[in-house]
Symmetry: C2
Subunit: 127 residues, 2 copies
DNA sequence: ATTGCTAATAGGAACTATTACTGTTAAAAA
DNA sequence: TTTTTAACAGTAATAGTTCCTATTAGCAAT
């Protein structure tokens, strides 16, 4: 049934190979090193499929660009407003007050995005 | 110096008039009811200016579209993945564990986006 | 091996939200 | 009034993403 093509494998390996929370474009460049004729559409589709299957996660940053991450365990992200870099915020637990409030709103929560922004250690010291 | 034009006022009033967390497009439609010849570029520029001045806040949803909000006090948002609607999650305090972790990363935090998603009470009961 | 079926592909067009550019208008300053 | 300049309308351009069409490649049953 499900066919794990060379393209899909290359996409998954590209995302897994880095901690830089890559964008579709970065993955495209990376996959082209292995499969030079790969299509950008194929990269997008495979990223979407891998995300739907739960093999990777994806989140949209404050400028509307989607980033992907092979670490599917829940964690927070920080994005530098200067250089755009996204890094992990480790070991943080989110309080559960929200769950109560969301229950009261009669919603069915299936995910959450927690994204901090500011200046990273490098950009902070430049300006 | 700063000129508070009719266009800017209409933009601010449009955002303030609703709790629906409108997009630039919604604001554009609303402002055109008052100033039919207003330009979409003007709406975008004024939204950006009002945001920079702190009169409104803006946040990007999971599909990369920016939403605006005249309630500048910190609060959380929930977006329905079915109908796209954004609603407030009231009375939730965010724990401070993240601050420690972010300090250890030597970052200078200036904001955060907390966005839950799932099905709202209406869409939940349809499917 | 050949056929038929379907998933997956390459390539590119199309779409959407947003930004940038180019005169023009109108408010404030001189 | 004249000058200056912020803000404007209208439009072109951009970036990220999705959609479309013809083609290719893997699998199952003949």
């Amino acid at each position: 049934m499900k066919r794990f093509s060379a393209q899909r494998q290359a996409v998954l390996e590209a995302v897994s190979s880095t901690k830089c929370h890559p964008t579709a474009d970065w993955v495209y460049d990376e996959v082209r090193k292995i499969i030079p004729k790969v299509s950008l559409g194929t990269v997008y589709r495979n990223l979407a499929d891998l995300k739907a299957e739960g093999n990777i996660i994806g989140f949209t940053d404050s400028s509307g660009v989607e980033h992907f991450d092979a670490t599917t365990l829940p964690h927070l992200h920080f994005q530098c407003t200067e250089c755009g870099k996204v890094i992990d915020v480790p070991g943080v637990f989110v309080n559960t007050d929200a769950n109560e409030a969301l229950n009261q709103l009669d919603t069915e929560v299936c995910g959450a995005l927690f994204l901090y922004f500011g200046k990273c250690s490098e950009c902070k010291n430049i300006n």
